[in-house]
Every structure is written in C-alpha cells, then in structure tokens.
C-alpha cells in the first residue's frame, strides 16, 4: 500500500512539536556524573587492557597453528593413557611375575592373551577373535568348563573390570 504508507509517513509540524513537548524540558548534564562515568570507564579499560592483550595473544597463538599441534599432542597423550596398563606392574616382584619369560606368567594371568601384563578389554577382544577363528580349540577354554565360547570371553571381561584387591588371579 504505497499510497497509504506515504499518507502515514509524515506528521504535521504542530503535532511533531507537541510530541517533542511530551519529552519535557532538555536535561542539563551534570559534570560530576560525567566525571564519574569517564573515570570509571578509564579504570575499567585499564584493568581489562591486560586481559584484552592476553585474549589477542591467545587468538594469534591458535591462529598460528599451535592449536593443531596442541590438539595432536593431547590426542597422543590420550591414546597412550588408554593403552597403558591400568593395573600394570607396580613393583619389581609384579614386573618379574608378568615378564613373558617368567614361568609364572601364563599361570598367574591366564586371561592376559596379548601378554601386556594386564587383563583388559583388549584381551577379551583377542579371545573373541581366536574363538571365532577356531571354536574347537580348548586352549581358549579359560574358565575350564570344557568349551571355548562366549562364557570364556565374559570371564575375561569380568577379570578386566574386577577391582584390583589382590584376590584376583
């Protein structure tokens, strides 16, 4: 409705003056309040200047590719952390007991199929693969019930999540 828009797009000067009058008289500024606001602003900007510089530097740091390097390092650290033996050897005795050449090794840790010194979910995975490949092999009958099957995998998984209270084994 362009015609109507035009019709409603202006006001007679007398009405505009009356609207302006509704605002009341112009307010005289107060120099003391001006000074308060401006000194507050100066103080705030001085206090945050260091923060602002730090933020800028951080932005430049990330923009410069350091972010990628940090992310890669964090990812590597996470992988190492996950793959490291949670219940690994804590003492020389433990270390000896878990050395592959040690006679105690297989007997003390029957579920440690990848021979990394600990029983974890990776062993359950290895066992599942081996049983899948050769279900008739009794070498994988870890719970000694006469069969190599899902129950053996469950047994390893149970060993993996059991609390290390010294009762396991």
């Amino acid at each position: 409705m362009p015609q109507e828009d035009e019709q409603f797009d202006s006001l007679p000067p007398a009405i505009v003056d009356a609207l302006r009058d509704l605002d009341g008289p112009a307010v005289m500024p107060d120099p003391r309040r001006d000074a308060d606001v401006l000194s507050g602003a100066r103080q705030h900007l001085a206090e945050t200047a260091g923060l602002s510089r730090k933020r800028r530097n951080l932005r430049l740091f990330f923009a410069g590719g350091a972010g990628g390097a940090i992310a890669a390092a964090a990812m590597i650290a996470l992988i190492v952390f996950i793959a490291s033996p949670v219940n690994g050897p804590q003492s020389e005795q433990d270390f000896a007991a878990n050395t592959p050449d040690s006679p105690q090794s297989a007997a003390a840790r029957p579920g440690d199929l990848n021979d990394d010194g600990t029983i974890d979910i990776l062993d359950a995975y290895v066992l599942a693969k081996q049983i899948e490949r050769d279900p008739s092999s009794l070498a994988m009958d870890l719970n000694r019930d006469g069969e190599a099957n899902q129950r053996d995998i469950d047994w390893v998984a149970q060993q993996a999540v059991a609390l290390n209270t010294g009762e396991r084994g």
Partner: protein, 193 residues
C-alpha cells in the same frame, strides 16, 4: 538558566571506529562516544522518568553498563539503537524504585512529574493543550513509535531493532496512532492544513 558545560570537540572518527579503539583500551575514544551520545540518552531517560535526577542516574547506569561491555563489544546496528533499550530499561526501573520508596501516597505527584502537564511548560505556550492531551491518551507503545520516528528521526528498521519487535509491528503501531490522530476532532485540522 545556567549554561551547559562545554563538550570537548567531537572526534572525527565514526562510532564504529571509536568502538574499535575502545576495544583496544583507548579511554579517549570512549569519552568521545560518551559526549556524542549523552544528550540523546538524557532525552530518552527524561522521556521515561520525567525527573531530572532519575534521568541522570539512568544515563549514568547505562553508560556504566556500556563501558563494561568492553573489550569485546561488537556494534551490530547504530549505537543509538543499542542505547535506547538500555536507557529505557534503566529509566523505568529507577522510576519504579522511586515510586516504591516514596510509597503510593506520592505516586500521583510522580505521575505528574513523569507526564508534564502541557500548560506548565513555557515552551508549550504556543501549542494547543488539546493536542498534548490527545497524544498523551495514545497507547504508550503507539506514542513511543511516533516519538522515535518523528522526534528522534529513527527509521522503521532502527525502531524495530531498538524495541526488539518486527518492522511490521512498528508500521502497524505508527499507522494506528496516525489514524487515531487523523480521525480525532482536535488533530484533524492539522492534517487538513
């Protein structure tokens, strides 16, 4: 009447350039923005409080709020459209507090201050009283857009941004307000001139 304190000469930089400088910690740039927009803010504050000290308080609070936005402030519209809702909110809030503090007994007195009677203002001596009454009787939302558009000189889009409503709403309110004025006996003659 005392003369107003002289403002420092206006900075040639635009609002955007000044804001960029304040974001980098330049207090002088903030000072320039303050002096450029203080009087506009005072006018808005006075519009909603109707009382000088409350208006000055509202403006002070608004600029404190504004400088605390730095560093990191981004201007997406005009600075006046950013300031309008801030000043309006502070002004209404202070007015409400003052009313509560003074109690209901003096509410009428505050109302009288907030909506100055046309006859009490010497500047209105030449303006017909019935016109003021008519404008005062418009719904607040309709009068507000009229004032913003024809007194403050804001565009429909700027009013919409300042009020946080769609531009269509601003147009509708303007249309309704002007239609009421055109259809009223008191204002019709001004449209016909």
């Amino acid at each position: 009447m005392p003369t107003p304190p002289a403002n420092p000469p206006d900075d040639p930089r635009s609002d955007l350039e000044l804001i960029d400088a304040v974001n980098k910690g330049d207090a002088r740039a903030f000072e320039a923005l303050y002096h450029r927009h203080r009087d506009y803010a005072l006018r808005i504050a006075m519009r909603f409080t109707g009382e000088r000290n409350l208006a000055l308080d509202a403006v002070q609070d608004s600029f404190v709020y504004f400088y605390k936005k730095f560093p990191g402030f981004t201007l997406t519209a005009k600075l006046t459209t950013f300031l309008y809702p801030v000043v309006k909110h502070n002004a209404l809030s202070l007015k409400q507090k003052a009313r509560r503090a003074q109690g209901d007994a003096s509410e009428e007195a505050l109302d009288a201050q907030a909506d100055p009677a046309p006859g009490n203002n010497p500047a209105e001596a030449d303006t017909p009283e019935d016109l003021h009454t008519l404008l005062s009787e418009l719904p607040d939302a309709q009068r507000e857009v009229l004032v913003m558009r024809f007194v403050d000189g804001l565009s429909v889009q700027e009013i919409a941004t300042a009020l946080g409503v769609p531009p269509g709403t601003v147009k509708t309110r303007t249309h309704h307000a002007i239609r009421k004025l055109r259809e009223s006996g008191q204002a019709k003659k001004y449209f016909d001139q």
